[in-house]
Amino acid sequence: MNALPARFLLVVVGLAAALAPLWALESFHLFQLTLAVIMSLAVLGLNIVTGYNGQISLGHGAFFAIGAYVTSILMAQADWSFYATLPFAAAICGMVGYAVGLPALRLGGLYLALVTFSLAVAVPQLLKHKALEAWTGGVQGLFLMKPDPPRWLTSVLPLNADQYMYLNVLIVSGICFLLAWNLIRGRIGRALMATRDHPTAAEAMGMDIAALKTGAFAVSAMITGVAGALSAVAVEFVAPDSFTFLLSITFFVGMVVGGVASILGSIFGGLFVLFVPNIAESISRAAPGVIYGMILIVFLFVLPEGFAGLVRRLLAKLSSPENPKPQ
C-alpha cells in the first residue's frame, strides 16, 4: 500500500471538512469558525519566524494591526475592493517585517522577546496618533462592509455574506498555508531550522544567516498581516483597541498550544485561541482569565509539543506496530 492514495484521501477529507461548515453551521458558529481560521493563519505567520526559525516574537499583533489598517484605509478612504487590498497589505507588512528583522539580527532569545513585546504594547498608542488620524479614524476606528457574493456565484450556489466571507477566508488561508508548507518542506525550510538549532554551525557552513532571518521575519509578517486584513473585513470594524498586546500574547499561546513548528499545529492553535476562552468563561464566570492561563500551563506541562505533537505521536503509534514503514 503506497503513500499516494492515502495522501490523496487525506486531502479530499481535509477539503470536505473545510467546506462542510458552509452548510452544517448556522451564521454565528460559521462566523466564529471564520475568525478561528483567521487566527490559525496569524499563528502560522508567527510559527514561521518563531517556530521554524527560533526568533521569539511577542509582537505579532503589530503586523496583524498593520494588515488590518492597510486594508481598512484602502477600502474605507479610497474605495478599493477587498481583493485588491490583500496583496497591498501583504507587501507593506512584508516590508515592515523586514525592517523589524534587521535590528532583530543582533538580538536573541529573551531580548528579542522583550523588544517585540514592547512593540506590541506601543502599537495602540501609535495607531491613535494625531498625525495618522485622518486616515486611521483615530480612536473611533473605521467601518467596513463585507463583500457581497457575486451574482455568478449565487446563481449556482446561494450564499449569504457570512458564508461568502468564510469561503474567502478559507481560500486565502488555504493559499497561504500551501505556500508556507512548500517553503518549509524545501531547502529554505531546512535552512531556517538549521539556523534555529545550530546557529553558529550554520553560519560556519556558509549559510547567509542574515538573509534567512530577515526573510523569515518578512514572510512571517506578510502572512500575519494578511490574517489581519481578513479579520478587518470579517469584523467590519477596526479600532486601536482591537490590537492591544493581549492579541500578541494570544497568537503566542496559539502557537505553543497548537504545536510549535507545525503547520497542522497552527490550525489547532487558531481553533484553541478562539474557542477556549469561551469554554473558560463557561467554567468560571468570575475569572475566565485564570482558567485560560491554567489550561495554557497544563498544556505546556503535559503536551509541550502541542496538539500537533500529540497527533504525531498517535499517528506514529498507529503506523509502527502493524505496518512497517515503506522503504
Binding site: 476606528g141 467601518f143 469584523v235 467590519e236 470594524f237 479600532a239 482591537s242 493581549l246 476562552p277
Partner: protein
C-alpha cells in the same frame, strides 16, 4: 402594524389550539415565563473595574425576580466577557443574538466595543439599550433607531464646564488633560465645540495613556504653560493623582473633573480630601459619602438593596449608583411593556419614557426619552468639593440635548 400582526398570530395560535405552543417563544428571547436579556462587559483585562456594573445589574434582576418578576415573567440576564476588545464584543453579541436568541441587549460597556456592534444590531432590529458609555454618538434616532445611551455625554459635560469658565473667567487660559482614547477625546471635542476658533489661543492640552504609571509630567507641563483653568477627562486613578499633584506643586487653577472620577471613596480620599477643595464637577448622581444623603429615601433604598443583594460591594464605588440608575430605567421600560416584550414594543417603550425620578439621581434630574430625542439623561448639576463632601451649586443645567 405590530398590533394586527399580533392579532393574526394570536388567531392562528388559537386555531391550532395546541397547549405546548404556549411554552414556545412569543418573540425572540421571550417565553411565557422568562425574558432573556443579554449584555457584554469587560469582565477581565485592564478596564475590568467596570465589571461591577454588571454585578449590580445581575443583583437588580435577582431582586426583581424575587419580587415576582415583570409581566408575570422572570428575567434571565446573561453577561459575556469581551475583555474590552471590539472583535470579541462582536463575537459575543452575535452569540447573544443568534445563538442564545436574547430578547434585546442592555448596558454593554465601552465606546469602541459598542461601535463594533452598532451597525449589526441596527440591521437586525435588536434593541441596544442604555449603553454604558457617555460617548455622544449614541443619541441618533434617525440613523440608528435601535441604539440608545443612558448617561449624559462626556462631550456635553465638557461643554458645560467650558461655558462656566467663559462666564467666570472670560480671558482664561485653559489646560485640558485628557485620556488618549474615545472617552478623553469627547472632552476635547466638547471644549472645541464651545470655543470654536478661540480654541487654539486659549487652550493647551496634554494626553495620557491608560497604561501610564503617573501623570505628574503632564501636570507640570500644563502648569508651565501658564494655564489658570484645568479640565480633566481621566479615569479615577489619574484623577486622584492629578488632584494630589496639582496641590503639591502649589498650582491653584479653577479645576474641573469628569464625573466618572469623583467618587469620594475611590478618588477624593486617596488624593487627600483637603487637597481637592474647590474642585468642580458636574454630576447627575448622588454620592454615597455626601452627608446630605445620609437619610435620603432614595439612597436608603439603594443602600438597602446593596446590603441585601451585593453585600460585599464597596458602597464608595459610584459604579453601583450608576448601575442602580441604569437598572431602574430598564425595569421601568419592562414594566411599561405590559405583556408584550417583542423587540418592537421594548424599543417603543424605551423611546417613550416619561420624565422619571430615580433613587440614585440628584433631585431635579430625571430620566426621559422622546422618539426624536434619545438623550436619556440630559441634565447635570455643578458641584464643588468642600473638603468633606460635594456641595451642589447653581441650577440643574440642561445640556445641548
Amino acid at each position: 402594524m405590530t398590533i394586527s400582526r399580533r392579532l393574526l398570530l394570536a388567531g392562528s395560535a388559537g386555531a391550532l389550539a395546541a397547549p405546548n405552543i404556549a411554552a414556545a417563544q412569543e418573540a425572540p428571547g421571550v417565553t411565557a415565563t422568562e425574558i432573556h436579556i443579554g449584555s457584554t462587559n469587560a469582565l477581565s483585562g485592564p478596564v475590568s473595574s467596570y465589571s461591577v456594573i454588571s454585578r449590580c445589574l445581575e443583583a437588580m434582576f435577582k431582586r426583581l425576580n424575587d419580587e415576582g418578576g415583570v409581566g408575570g415573567r422572570r428575567v434571565k440576564f446573561t453577561v459575556y466577557d469581551d475583555a474590552y476588545q471590539p472583535p470579541r464584543t462582536l463575537e459575543q453579541t452575535r452569540r447573544l443574538v443568534e445563538r442564545d436568541r436574547v430578547a434585546f441587549l442592555f448596558n454593554q460597556l465601552g465606546t469602541p466595543t459598542n461601535s463594533a456592534v452598532h451597525r449589526y444590531v441596527n440591521q437586525r432590529s435588536v434593541p441596544h439599550l442604555f449603553l454604558a458609555t457617555g460617548a455622544d454618538k449614541w443619541a441618533n434616532p434617525r440613523e440608528f433607531p435601535w441604539t440608545m445611551g443612558w448617561q449624559p455625554s462626556y462631550r456635553v459635560e465638557a461643554q458645560i464646564y467650558t461655558k462656566y469658565v467663559l462666564e467666570q473667567r472670560p480671558n482664561a487660559k485653559i489646560a485640558l488633560l485628557y485620556q488618549n482614547d474615545d472617552f478623553g477625546r469627547d472632552y476635547l471635542h466638547g471644549v472645541q465645540d464651545v470655543l470654536g476658533d478661540r480654541f487654539r489661543t486659549m487652550v493647551v492640552t496634554a494626553t495620557n495613556e491608560a497604561t501610564d504609571p503617573t501623570i505628574d509630567s503632564q501636570i507640570v507641563q500644563l502648569q508651565a504653560a501658564g494655564a489658570d483653568v484645568l479640565i480633566c477627562g481621566v479615569v479615577p486613578r489619574f484623577a486622584a493623582q492629578a488632584i494630589r499633584r496639582v496641590h503639591d506643586i502649589g498650582w491653584r487653577p479653577m479645576m474641573f473633573m469628569t464625573n466618572v472620577s469623583v467618587s469620594v471613596g475611590v478618588v477624593m480620599q486617596p488624593a487627600g480630601v483637603e487637597k481637592g477643595v474647590g474642585l468642580i464637577t458636574s454630576d447627575y448622581r448622588k454620592d454615597q459619602s455626601d452627608p446630605a444623603w445620609a437619610q435620603d429615601a432614595g439612597m436608603n433604598e439603594w443602600r438597602d438593596f446593596m446590603r441585601r443583594y451585593v453585600p460585599d460591594g464597596d458602597l464608595g464605588d459610584n459604579n453601583y449608583t450608576y448601575g442602580y440608575g441604569a437598572g431602574t430605567t430598564m425595569i421601568q421600560v419592562l414594566r411599561q411593556c405590559g405583556n408584550d416584550f417583542s423587540r418592537e414594543n421594548v424599543m417603543n417603550q424605551a423611546r417613550n419614557i416619561k420624565p422619571m425620578e430615580v433613587a440614585t439621581l440628584l433631585p431635579g434630574i430625571k430620566v426621559q426619552t422622546q422618539p426624536d430625542n434619545y438623550n436619556v439623561i440630559r441634565q447635570m448639576q455643578l458641584q464643588r468639593w468642600n473638603g468633606q463632601s460635594w456641595e451642589r451649586f447653581g441650577n440643574v443645567i440642561e445640556g445641548a440635548g
